[in-house]
């Protein structure tokens, strides 16, 4: 990250990195769903869907839970409940869409070929998820990450960053 636009904290850098990965996956998803007709799921297609399945899971469980547990209470405590309410509601909407999409991916991986009806439904849900998640990330980058330097001092930042799944997983 070369710009100083969103402020700099270790926690913010971790979240920003995850946002970049999610957005890159959404671009791939957008490309994957650009066809109106169902694709034939070859090795590459199946590998992409499997990766997407795990990435969505990581996003809506690890990433969202990390923010809700470690950051949102701090923001609410300093009076930024307006921002927190907005982000929490978006998490809820995205979780529901992600759950639908993951269920559909599971069906595709188990029962190829993909039917036209299922493909149309998948495209619609994917489009909703892309729109919703992109906007959510925009908002977090400009609101949440920009606000972190004000709610995390250096010690808090180090402690919160250490609680991030990236550091606790191993």
């Amino acid at each position: 990250m070369s710009s100083d636009f969103f402020g700099q904290t270790r926690t913010g850098s971790l979240l920003h990195g995850e946002h970049q990965s999610t957005l890159a996956a959404l671009v791939e998803l957008e490309t994957f769903t650009s066809r109106r007709t169902p694709p034939e799921l070859d090795e590459t297609g199946r590998a992409f869907l499997l990766r997407l399945y795990h990435l969505i899971e990581a996003d809506v469980t690890d990433h969202f839970t990390f923010e809700e547990t470690n950051l949102f209470p701090r923001l609410s405590a300093v009076g930024a409940s307006f921002m927190v309410e907005m982000l929490e509601a978006e998490h809820e909407d995205i979780r529901a869409l992600a759950q639908d999409l993951r269920a559909m991916i599971g069906t595709f991986l188990d029962d190829a070929p993909v039917s036209a009806d299922h493909w149309a439904q998948f495209r619609t849900t994917a489009r909703d998820l892309i729109d919703m998640e992109t906007f959510h990330i925009q908002k977090e980058e400009m609101g949440l990450l920009a606000a972190l330097p004000q709610v995390l001092n250096e010690a808090d930042d180090a402690a919160v960053a250490a609680a991030h799944p990236k550091h606790t997983a191993g």
């Binding site: 710009s3 100083d4 547990t69 470690n70 209470p73 309410e85 992109t134 004000q150």
Partner: protein, 441 residues
Amino acid sequence: MLTGVPLAGAERRLVSAPVPPLAVTVIGLALTAGWLLLAVTPEAALTVTGGPGPGLAALHLLTLGVLGMAVVLVVPQILPVVTMVPAPALPVLMPVHLGVAGGAVTLVTGFLSGDSLWMAAGATTVAGGLGLFCLLWARLLWQARHSGMGDLLLANSLALLCLLLIAALGVSLSLDYRTGFLSDSPLEHGALVWAHAILAVHGLMGLLVMGYSTVLIPMLAVAEPQGRRANRPLILLYAAGVLTAAFSAVISADVIGWLGWATALLAVGLFLRGMLTVLKRRLRRSLGPSFWLIRLSWGLWAAGLLAGAGARIGWLSPELAGALLLPGWLLTLLLGILQRIIPFLASMHSVRCCARPAPLPRFENRRQTAALSLAHAGAVLLLTAGIALSSPLLIRGAAGMGLLSGLLLLFFAAGVFTRLLSHRRAVGPRRPRPAPSSPAL
């Protein structure tokens, strides 16, 4: 880095809920009325610089009714959101909006009827509204001085200076229509008209475009922004060029005018190169119809500046340069931004007024925005061709397309508002939340 800016009370960074829909309605109506006027009197587009008449009336519906209203909506709303300061309250904003909208209607009536009393009354009312707006704008800039948004604050401050000069010149020109007082002074009415136009189009609007683009373009395109002071030299260079050109118009110094024009053109070129770099680094591949218009507006900005040079040396008509700059560059950019900002504001207001916020994609309508974008682009193309070829038929065609774009904007905004109301009915109004718990760590 943001330092010392209060996070509490983020809801106070939004203007009062009725302000955006009312302002957008005025913008849509002024846009529709301006094109309608041109549809009725297409030859007016060829004689805008000839003084009061339907051409000048249509021009001021566009500059004051559309662009002016957009400025008094965008600055009090976007500046507080970005710099985290409270937005101006409704009792302060309403006189500004009423002054600009009411004054614009009075002024346009004056231009249409040729009655100088209406012109002077309209210009004075607009100047009153803008005078109050200057005060609240200055206050916002002072409150935001520690926000760290260097480019945005610099561009706003310089734009504010231009607005003060524009208002002073506008009132002088309108009073001169009534009293002829300029004939007793060394200043010429025509020279002041040019200075007024340069400061309005290139000064106020150009600087606002530069400042807000540094924030809005990366946000809308999901792209890595430039540094917060990355455009400082370009903004200063551009402002120097525009002020030099305006001053040269007043004193009729041709060489100085060319110097100002070249300086501004260089700054615009470098600025647009930076914006294209931002877009190249975007993470969202598909940007939608709004960026058809935003990209088109960038091309029209450069084309309009070059056409302005052509008009200066008599190769092209001033009306052609004006068409490329006003309905071209500025209106194209505004319509591109509005189709993204209107749903954004609706989503933000849903947090304040609904039990559960509504996500932004629920307010978007790609078909309507695509139709709006195509209608507007068609109108600009036909208008430019119509003025270049002096063809009232093409201008009437442009007005028809423009009229459609105005109606589509109103329809789109009404759709967003209706969806917000439906969402509120479905989830209920907002209720106070329990006190927040302590942080987990």
